[in-house]
């Protein structure tokens, strides 16, 4: 069953029956996932080169790895900061089957004498093309609004002045980690739907922060857990992987992730039964240019989905940044794949630690950092 179908089932049949009758619940989300990128192995040139600087369609990829490996970050821009075409767009082009211009320079060594390379590559020509994202699939996220008198352009989209709108980015009750709030079934080794192909959770995501305030049901009310994921780019599809542009912020990767949650017991059934009216998040004023913005109010996803929320007595129209339509599509697809046994469910090899804390970065002396 998809997460939405399951919630409906629980409403009519109760948690007990759901726990015994339903094996698996499929979740899904499609949103901007900035902390993403892909690594490549291009193959060796004749004569060989140890690539020191690498550009893919003019966007620099990190080449501080051996010889012909490089990592292209989704938010990387070219020297002119052209936000319409960043690393994420190059990754989308590759997934679309396009050829991409590869340029590399090197200082030359006895074993790798070549100093320059200028050619084209595609997913057909490279050895590996692997999506490797260090922070995806945030468990809950903030709502952004703007109290100032000018339009703000942020990673949360265009924020109109004087509380002109509010944007949010979680898929709410369909979102994977909101259905498994304590990471009981999602952990290292979990097989996932990633960008149209299959991938795996390989670690906790960066900034993993399980200790945030939670509802009595255990659902975090702030950004909490996140996932580091990996998957073969060659399996992916532009339906679920897109280069995005956030005006005056930069580029980002629109990515679809789906995760099956086995209903192990009643407790799992209860957490997967959570609905938008029971999932809360905080509204922040993004005109406050600080890492610790004050919370304007807490709001449920049911209220956000209604299209308007009350901020300081004003009804403010809301926008989702993640596609509910695609999230549903992913949950449905995953359900079909599981039923056809094309998608196997893995138990995590290791669960995440609930002890992690999220630390800031301050200017400190060498001694203070020790």
């Amino acid at each position: 069953m998809t997460a939405e179908e399951f919630k409906q089932f629980v409403k009519t049949n109760g948690v007990k029956k759901a726990a015994t009758e339903v094996d698996v619940v499929t979740t899904g989300t499609f949103g901007a996932m900035c902390s993403s990128g892909a690594y490549f192995n291009f193959g060796h040139t004749e004569p060989p080169i140890k690539m020191q600087r690498v550009w893919m369609d003019g966007i620099q990829a990190h080449a501080g790895l051996a010889a012909v490996d490089a990592y292209l970050g989704a938010t990387e821009l070219d020297e002119t900061n052209n936000m319409m075409h960043g690393g994420a767009h190059v990754i989308e082009d590759l997934v679309r089957g396009k050829a991409v211009r590869l340029k590399a320079t090197a200082y030359g060594t006895d074993c790798y004498p070549r100093k320059e390379m200028d050619t084209y590559v595609s997913l057909k020509t490279v050895n590996q093309a692997v999506l490797l994202n260090v922070r995806n699939c945030y468990q809950n996220y903030a709502v952004a609004t703007n109290s100032s008198s000018r339009t703000l352009y942020t990673y949360m989209g265009k924020l109109l002045p004087e509380f002109g709108n509010a944007t949010y980015s979680s898929a709410g009750e369909l979102s994977p980690l909101l259905n498994d709030p304590y990471y009981r079934s999602i952990g290292i080794g979990t097989r996932i739907f990633l960008g149209g192909g299959q991938g795996f959770v390989i670690w906790e995501g960066t900034q993993f922060n399980p200790g945030v305030p939670r509802t009595p049901e255990g659902v975090p009310k702030r950004p909490a857990g996140s996932l580091a994921v990996i998957g073969d780019l060659k399996q992916m599809s532009p339906d679920f992987l897109r280069g995005l542009t956030f005006t005056r912020y930069g580029s980002s990767l629109g990515l679809g992730i789906g995760i099956p949650i086995p209903i192990l017991d009643e407790e799992m059934a209860r957490s997967c039964a959570v609905t938008n009216d029971l999932i809360f998040t905080a509204v922040f004023d993004y005109s406050q240019q600080t890492r610790s913005r004050t919370v304007l109010r807490e709001v449920s996803y049911a209220a956000l989905r209604s299209g308007e929320i009350d901020i300081k007595g004003k009804m403010v129209p809301t926008s989702s940044l993640s596609s509910l339509y695609k999230a549903r599509q992913i949950a449905q697809l995953l359900k079909t794949q599981i039923m056809k046994r094309e998608f196997m469910i893995e138990k995590p090899i290791q669960n995440f630690s609930l002890e992690r804390v999220f630390k800031p970065l301050d200017v400190r002396t060498e001694k203070e950092a020790m």
Binding site: A32, L160, N165, S319, S322
Partner: protein
């Protein structure tokens, strides 16, 4: 007669009573459909109603005062292959031409409601909205 125009002005002009003058001196009714102001300048989508001559004179007056005036004749189109139905545009579209359909989860685009103000163009992350010239 009614006509919709997009006004572009620099920040200094933002503080002047330009729309008031349109109403008072040129006998026009001004309906502000959208206003956006930031450090680079401002943009306003207005509907002018009044006599054709007054509208022409009103637009001349705006131009003389350094306001960029672009009549809304062009349409705005959505490329459905590009749209991911994220919904970013929903809260910024002044006319609800872009709206969320709870049944399908999709974002619908109703061309008849669109006034081609263009505020959705740079707000759409995959760049699905385009102005036709």
């Amino acid at each position: 007669m009614k006509t919709k125009v997009v006004l572009n002005f620099n920040p200094e002009l933002a503080n002047q009573p330009i729309t008031n003058n349109l109403i008072a001196k040129h006998h026009l009714n001004v309906n502000i459909l959208r206003a956006e102001i930031d450090e680079i300048g401002g943009k306003m989508v207005i509907e002018l109603s009044g006599k054709a001559d007054d509208i022409r004179r009103g637009i001349d007056y705006l131009k003389q005062n350094g306001v960029g005036v672009r009549p809304i004749k062009e349409g705005v189109r959505r490329d459905d292959d590009v749209c991911t139905h994220c919904g970013m545009c929903v809260s910024i579209c002044p006319t609800k031409a872009l709206a969320y359909d709870p049944k399908t989860g999709k974002i619908t685009f109703t061309e008849e409601k669109c006034v081609a103000c263009g505020v959705c163009i740079d707000a759409c992350p995959p760049r699905a909205m385009e102005i036709l010239i």
